[in-house]
Point group: C2
Chain length 368, copies 2
């Protein structure tokens, strides 16, 4: 305590070395557990490190060994008109990020995150700046055009989420098609609903297109009537979902018996709009989501949805990026399985068994 506090004039490995009476090389070796320093040497270094509260500078380290141990993560922040002024839009993004973090920590990496506003101007510049600070980038859905991604991947390893691989970037996604098919089968075969609607996500999302196509194909195959088209265009936000219902109703259209939503947030908005008109879920209209975000189970009624292993998705994305960083190469497109989560918004009773012929059939279909 008599120790006069070292002035905040950056402490370096030289300070530690001189205090311990050894060379900087020894300090470095002790700190990194390399070589085989004598016990005494090690102890003196550790002692000095403790006394000085020394932490090696990450930038210098990175510069020296060419590895920053940082992965950049870019995602889109709210942006479009917000539902009741709030930003629930980042719910699922955060779950994925958590997964990335879990994977990263296993390798001593940290996450450098940067969210992009919907109408930020200098997006490319910001992402480039981030790229300079990281060893690789993970891009959430819809961050950049395919060209933009390809260009970016020229500078730094890139993994996209729920997108498509480019010649230089890798991609990880969930099995959307299977999920939608399971949902449609549950609604049509298990519940016997004959008319289905589908509120889409943003038109520019690959995931969205895949889901819509799967919906149409499976519904037709199951012999149900479907409603789609411009009136059913949502945008992955709760506000988008609410809008679709409001417009449909205002136009005097009759709602189908069941409405599948492109994601849980959309379902949230749809249910909200339905509740405002006094339409009951699932008695009048059954609703399903997609994602299984944390709040899905807390809705009234609890939302039947497709669970994407989002945390795993993030962890996988990191692993792929990591192996690309350290070894190069890597599988261009990785698909993760999804799972039907039956709750009550589809019309199933609380606590009833979710095991259904349709779900199983869909699953078999996937396997076969």
């Amino acid at each position: 305590m008599a120790e006069p506090k070292k002035a905040r004039a950056t402490l370096t490995i030289y300070d530690v070395a001189s205090r311990a009476g050894v060379s900087i090389a020894s300090v470095s070796r002790v700190l990194n557990g390399l070589g085989s320093p004598r016990a005494e040497t090690r102890e003196r270094v550790m002692q000095a490190v403790r006394e000085l509260s020394f932490v090696p500078d990450g930038a210098a380290r990175a510069l020296s060994n060419g590895l920053k141990e940082v992965v950049g993560v870019v995602f889109r922040r709210g942006g479009e008109e917000l539902f009741e002024g709030e930003d629930e839009s980042f719910l699922y993004i955060d779950v994925i990020n958590r997964g990335i973090e879990v994977g990263a920590q296993r390798r001593g990496f940290d996450l450098l995150i940067s969210s992009v506003g919907f109408n930020d101007d200098n997006v490319a510049a910001r992402i480039a700046a981030l790229a300079g600070k990281a060893d690789g980038l993970i891009l959430h859905d819809r961050m950049l055009s395919a060209v933009g991604i390809a260009r970016l991947a020229d500078m730094v390893p890139v993994v996209t989420l729920a997108g498509s691989p480019t010649p230089t970037s890798l991609n990880v996604r969930c099995d959307n098609e299977f999920g939608i098919r399971a949902l449609v089968r549950h609604m049509v075969i298990d519940h016997g609903y004959r008319s289905l609607g589908y509120v889409t996500g943003r038109a520019d999302s690959p995931d969205n297109r895949t889901r819509l196509r799967a919906f149409e194909a499976e519904a037709v195959a199951a012999g149900a009537e479907i409603e789609t088209g411009p009136a059913w265009q949502g945008n992955y936000s709760a506000a988008g979902g609410a809008n679709v219902v409001a417009s449909l109703l205002n136009a005097g259209r009759k709602l189908p018996r069941a409405i599948l939503c492109a994601n849980d947030q959309t379902a949230l908005g749809v249910m909200h709009a339905l509740a405002q008109r006094g339409i009951r879920v699932p008695q009048d209209v059954a609703i399903t989501g997609f994602d299984d975000v944390p709040v899905a189970r807390h809705l009234h009624p609890p939302l039947t949805t497709i669970r994407q292993p989002m945390q795993e998705l993030g962890a996988k994305a990191f692993e792929i990026l990591y192996s690309r960083i350290s070894a190069g190469g890597g599988k261009p497109d990785t698909v993760l399985p999804v799972e039907l989560v039956v709750r009550e918004s589809c019309g199933c009773a609380s606590g009833s068994s979710p095991a259904s012929s349709a779900a199983l059939a869909a699953r078999d279909g996937q396997k076969g």
Copy 2:
């Protein structure tokens, strides 16, 4: 397009310089907008940069000018037994982080985030590693002991959230006391509830102690009966809240007319437990939260709570850290105002005016 792709053998400023036919100093100056390069020089550099897809290395830059433009953010991830196996626990943390990010972006900083599991062993080491990669750290509530924080602040500028300043670290927090007082007054004076319970947060949280004290003081002042004690000990998680209610009920205790919860997550758990027992909110028991997390308005009934300007809290924390980084010094303890948000869980009717004598009185009390 004939251009053979530069091999991924890190592109440097030298490559750009030789391609543009200028020196590396000129490249650097152009990239940073320093000096006054001739238009032709600038153009040639930019051209080369574009052609090569060059991005300057952040580590080298940081090493050279002593600024990484990175803030480390540390927070605690779920950890305790999770409510229905999910991690809603990071809801409010993410809002704060978003605020930090907004502040950071204004200064060209990015966020390096690292969450700490509840029983991770090497927490101090991980935080130290993070410190090495950042210019400063923002620590969420309950990350480290006061001693640990002080030690950390020896190495790097530190700002804590909802904690207390130490001789070397700064702190930013919300006005908990005012919030609790406003809530108590609303319940006792506006609604006339005579018996109040308070489900606490984690015992080791400064915020929690402040809130509990304010609750007791204000309730007594308002002439209400209060219930506290070990049976009311929560832990800021939904599971904690649910447990308190379950234990109380199992012990045959009668619940007070109104229950204030240490935060929204706790309230979520309490309401869930109440619903399972068939106890109605707010008819049988009124509930309030604290935080106003995004889902609070989507609960049934919508949750009356205290809105903490969490995003602003984050932004403020960054600004304070930034000025500390660039200028040193800084206000040790910053307090942000909070606001009563009246919804329905307290017993107010949907859409009724929140303006109340109690809230205003409490506000006046604060001003005076």
